[in-house]
């Protein structure tokens, strides 16, 4: 698979369909696993890491999985390709640029599953779904885990469960993250209240790119903190319950917006589209903020000539590595802002939404 072949695609998580997709962008579950006979990645020698890669590649090649999983060697990959995969949520920033030695990632052309090798743990399995689909994602990743574990001896402790490099992941090794688009809660200043409530029940809130990242474009990831002492199903059910509550709040807030300030919202959406379609320099952050306004406008039915998938397309294609791949050469910060503006202008004109 040439990575560039992914460029025009949206990838599973940005398909824009799936249950509750007016608020839930995507669902992700990851499992942390380690091979029994090697030190954790942080203490493994380059030779041991290379050995782990060989064994995992063998297991992946024989995996009972409906889509072909292709392995990509990260050290051999140009920096731009690594960043490209980070933007597509297929690898972590750590695997791309922080960790050293033999490591890589296997994923399918649909981008529905990825397996990172020699990340913080030997194996980080991940399944992505568009919309709110925790149960489907769990069914899939459970199967993927089974098929890999049939060929690999996994580090498991009768008391502590699946052993991980960091004790915050031990037990199930499961982290479920649901990405939500919450513009109305942001506008009505209720978002902090929601997050304070989440904190009390041990759920974490993060920005788009996980731990430590800022929330841009009203996108938030909600995930479980506790991985030990609860079954996988219980962990998922607890998140589900909370997400349904947040969904309700967000939808209520949207209804209130429509009722009390439809004209103002209409204006905001038109201005957002106007800026996106006529700027000559624009940052990734501003693009995300404006696309968030457009996305809300679509779901409030204030505009009907921009499909939700187009927003997702613009969202992913205007990120730094994607943009440089589209243009075909590297760009510095200023050049990127100009290229981004040009790309947005062209695409919006194609969509016929550029209002003179």
């Amino acid at each position: 698979m040439n990575l560039d072949s992914l460029l025009p695609n949206l990838g599973e998580w940005l398909r824009g369909t799936g249950p509750e997709s007016d608020v839930v962008v995507s669902t992700r579950i990851r499992l942390a696993r380690n091979l029994a006979d090697y030190p954790f990645t942080g203490r493994a020698s380059p030779a041991q890491k290379a050995d782990i890669v060989v064994r995992v590649k063998d297991a992946i090649a024989n995996a009972q999985w409906p889509h072909k999983l292709e392995y990509h060697d990260v050290p051999a990959m140009p920096a731009l390709d690594r960043q490209f995969l980070v933007e597509r949520q297929l690898i972590s920033r750590e695997l791309a640029a922080v960790l050293e030695g033999p490591r890589g990632v296997a994923f399918d052309a649909e981008e529905s599953a990825s397996i990172m090798v020699n990340e913080e743990d030997h194996l980080r399995l991940q399944v992505l779904r568009s919309g709110f689909a925790l149960d489907d994602a769990w069914t899939d990743i459970d199967k993927l885990d089974d098929t890999l574990e049939a060929r690999l001896p996994i580090a498991f402790h009768t008391q502590f469960g699946y052993l991980t490099a960091c004790p915050t992941n031990v037990g199930t090794g499961l982290r479920a993250s649901v990405m939500l688009h919450l513009p109305a809660l942001g506008l009505t200043k209720q978002i902090d209240k929601v997050f304070r409530a989440l904190q009390k029940i041990n759920l974490a809130v993060r920005g788009l790119h996980g731990e430590g990242s800022r929330a841009f474009g009203d996108l938030y990831q909600i995930s479980n903190q506790v991985t030990l002492g609860k079954t996988e199903q219980k962990i998922l059910n607890e998140i589900k319950e909370v997400i349904f509550t947040i969904l309700q709040y967000e939808r209520q807030a949207r209804t209130v917006l429509l009722k009390e300030r439809q004209q103002a919202e209409q204006d905001r959406v038109a201005r957002a589209l106007g800026t996106l379609g006529s700027a000559t320099m624009i940052t990734a952050e501003e693009t995300m903020e404006l696309l968030s306004v457009v996305r809300l406008g679509i779901h409030l039915r204030l505009i009907d000539d921009v499909p939700a998938t187009a927003v997702n397309q613009l969202f992913i294609q205007t990120q730094a590595a994607h943009l440089q791949k589209i243009v075909g050469h590297t760009l510095d910060g200023e050049e990127r802002n100009a290229a981004r503006a040009k790309y947005l202008k062209t695409r919006l004109r194609e969509l016929g939404t550029h209002r003179q």
Binding site: N34, A36, Y38, P39, F40, G42, R43, E120, D142, D145, D146, E149, A150, P153, I154, A155, F156, H157, T158, Q159, F160, G161, Y162, L163, A165, C166, P167, T168, V170, G171, T172, L174, I191, D192, F195, R196, Q199, A204, V205, R206, G207, G212, R214, A215, Q225, V226, T227, L228, G229, K230, T231, E232, I235
Partner: protein, 169 residues
Amino acid sequence: MKCMFCDKPATVHLTDIVNKQKREAHLCESCAREKNLLPDEPGPVIDLSAYLQLMAGSPEQNPKKSAAWNDAACPACGMSYGGFKAEGRFGCAKDYDVFSVAVEQLLERAHRATAHVGKVPAAIRREIAATRFAELRTELTAAVEAEDYEQAARLRDLIRTMEAEGRSG
């Protein structure tokens, strides 16, 4: 109350209770930020691993945290508990047994639990079943020898059920 690291007034108060032992940390905002306990805006979530490090590392309140304890190393990977505290990551799977006492305290704080109840790898499930099977057979022999036929019948049923499950699974 003053910050435990500097003289500024403490505004961040952390308390946890493990095995009926109460432990407290009091910090000013800047020290809490420096120790990564407080995330950048807008995330209102306490950084769990930083919290663990602080708690695992609070020196005077836990007798186990002596120099000898910190330096004792895992025979498999060479990781010491002090090294774990500094890195926040274990070196290998054996560390969980080598440092099990500290691990349990840590897990109790992080997860409010010390034992896994979820998925078990198929290979381990088979191992557990085999051990249990052998135990039941021994008990059955003992019950027959003791002429406790009621118990023997119960055990035989259990063994049959397990055999049936083993065949289907």
